[in-house]
């Protein structure tokens, strides 16, 4: 990441080569939890992108002011403020989405993508590059969750874009309520388990395998979750290199 990259490259890397969900394995919890329907996925994706863009810009602007010792708490406060703003906006304008996402909307605060990008990118780069990075990562997250949600909603409920009127209602369109695919085909029932928790893990596993296959054919490394390597707190955490006890003090400082 040391060499100079154009803004376009910073933006594009989040979409494919460094997709936060499928390549960096960040933000698994919201990916699994909000991919039950395509509308939820888009709503969550937009919320995360918005917070990520704003927090990346703010952190990048403040990167010379924040002392490195207290940077993590400072990042958390900045992120939490933007999350609260987004949460209030969603509550006010799209209450149905607020209901559907539930606790996962405020939980964007502890989403590893945000802290991870703040720590790995925004705290070290200029404002425009950070904004491009945040936007790319956010859209990459949205794309991955949307991809998963399409599979899960199609097989699990037999619909596409069900409940779309809650989002489109913002633009005055209330007539489109989603496509009911399976009800037109007699004798076929949706596979309910896909929208339940096991289906989430299963779909994610298969998508990850596909992503690994594609990455390998392009000569890239497989996505891997080795202990806490991907966790933004890894630097402050002694579990990382397998050393079980001592050596904790040194890292925090």
């Amino acid at each position: 990441m040391a060499e100079k990259k154009t803004l376009g490259q910073e933006f594009r890397k989040g979409l494919l080569t460094e997709n936060p969900v499928l390549r960096l394995v960040l933000g698994t919890c919201p990916t699994l939890a909000t991919s039950t329907s395509m509308v939820n996925a888009i709503g969550m994706g937009i919320s995360v992108t918005l917070v990520l863009l704003c927090s990346n810009i703010a952190i990048s602007l403040l990167r010379k002011v924040i002392p490195s010792k207290v940077r993590i708490p400072a990042y958390i406060v900045i992120i939490a403020s933007f999350v609260t703003i987004v949460q209030l906006l969603v509550k006010a304008f799209v209450p149905a989405l607020d209901e559907a996402l539930g606790v996962f909307l405020p939980l964007i605060v502890v989403n590893c993508i945000l802290l991870g990008r703040a720590e790995a990118f925004a705290g070290k780069h200029k404002v425009l590059a950070s904004a491009a990075d945040g936007l790319g990562m956010g859209i990459g997250f949205t794309a991955a969750v949307f991809c998963m949600a399409t599979i899960r909603e199609f097989f699990g409920s037999g619909t596409l874009f069900s409940g779309a009127d809650s989002l489109l209602g913002l633009f005055g369109i209330t007539s489109f309520k989603g496509i009911d695919v399976f009800s037109h085909i007699p004798g076929i029932e949706p596979i309910l388990i896909f929208v339940l928790a096991p289906g989430g893990f299963f779909t994610f596993g298969l998508l990850m395998a596909c992503a690994n296959r594609i990455a390998e054919s392009k000569g890239k490394k497989k996505a891997e979750l080795n202990g806490c390597d991907n966790c933004p707190m890894a630097a402050a955490c002694a579990l990382r290199s397998g050393e079980e006890c001592e050596g904790k003090e040194a890292v925090e400082a």
Binding site: L88, P106, A209, E244
Partner: protein, 201 residues
């Protein structure tokens, strides 16, 4: 008492944090390879969840709600949890070194664990919806959620140790097969649906 046992069992089995609610997936996938790290991590999570609930419940009830500041919940709770974890770490290190050496290394990880903030927020949500869901119920719910996390971690570390010697297709190796295994463990927890309601009416 019956109510509290029902809350505890619901949190452990039917509403398992990891396998049904998708909270705390990172540590679930990341540190479940070895049994002893899985147990240590879960013990620390139970501890912090109980502490966090004990501290945030009064803050919410006596500070935020009377002053109409409920919209600050997210910011206040995450800061309280972060400060609390630091404080617990310092206190343990100074006064109970044995416990610190067992739990200490997991503590900084837990600050940004969505399961901890999740349980606090869910407690507040439940308390707002149902006036009878008081401090004791919140505590039982938190401890139950932590125990459920531990159960899932311990079970899954067993599954993973079996998987280590299995012959897995090349592109399923690593994370994909781990997720599929998690899916199967999660199916087994679906079986608990309705059990608690049947026992406790």
């Amino acid at each position: 008492m019956k109510v509290y046992i029902a809350i505890l069992l619901t949190a452990i089995l039917t509403e398992n944090f990891v396998l049904a609610k998708f909270l705390g997936i990172c540590p679930f996938l990341g540190v479940s390879k070895k049994l002893n790290t899985a147990v240590g991590m879960s013990a620390a999570v139970i501890f912090v969840m109980a502490m966090a609930t004990a501290v945030t419940y009064p803050i919410n009830k006596y500070l935020l709600l009377p002053n109409d500041l409920a919209y600050l919940q997210t910011i206040v709770f995450i800061l309280v949890i972060a400060a609390l974890v630091q404080l617990v770490e310092i206190v343990l290190k100074r006064y109970i070194p044995a416990l610190y050496s067992a739990l200490g290394i997991y503590l900084p990880l837990i600050t940004t664990n969505c399961a901890v903030l999740g349980v606090v927020l869910l407690n507040v949500e439940k308390a707002a919806a149902d006036a009878s869901f008081g401090f004791a119920a919140s505590m039982f719910n938190s401890v139950g959620a932590g125990l459920g996390f531990m159960l899932a971690m311990v079970m899954f570390s067993g599954v993973r140790s079996k998987m280590e010697h299995a012959d897995i297709p090349k592109f399923m190796q690593g994370l994909p097969i781990t997720l599929v295994a998690a899916s199967l463990v999660s199916v087994s927890f679906l079986g608990f649906g309705g059990v608690i309601e049947n026992i406790f009416g």
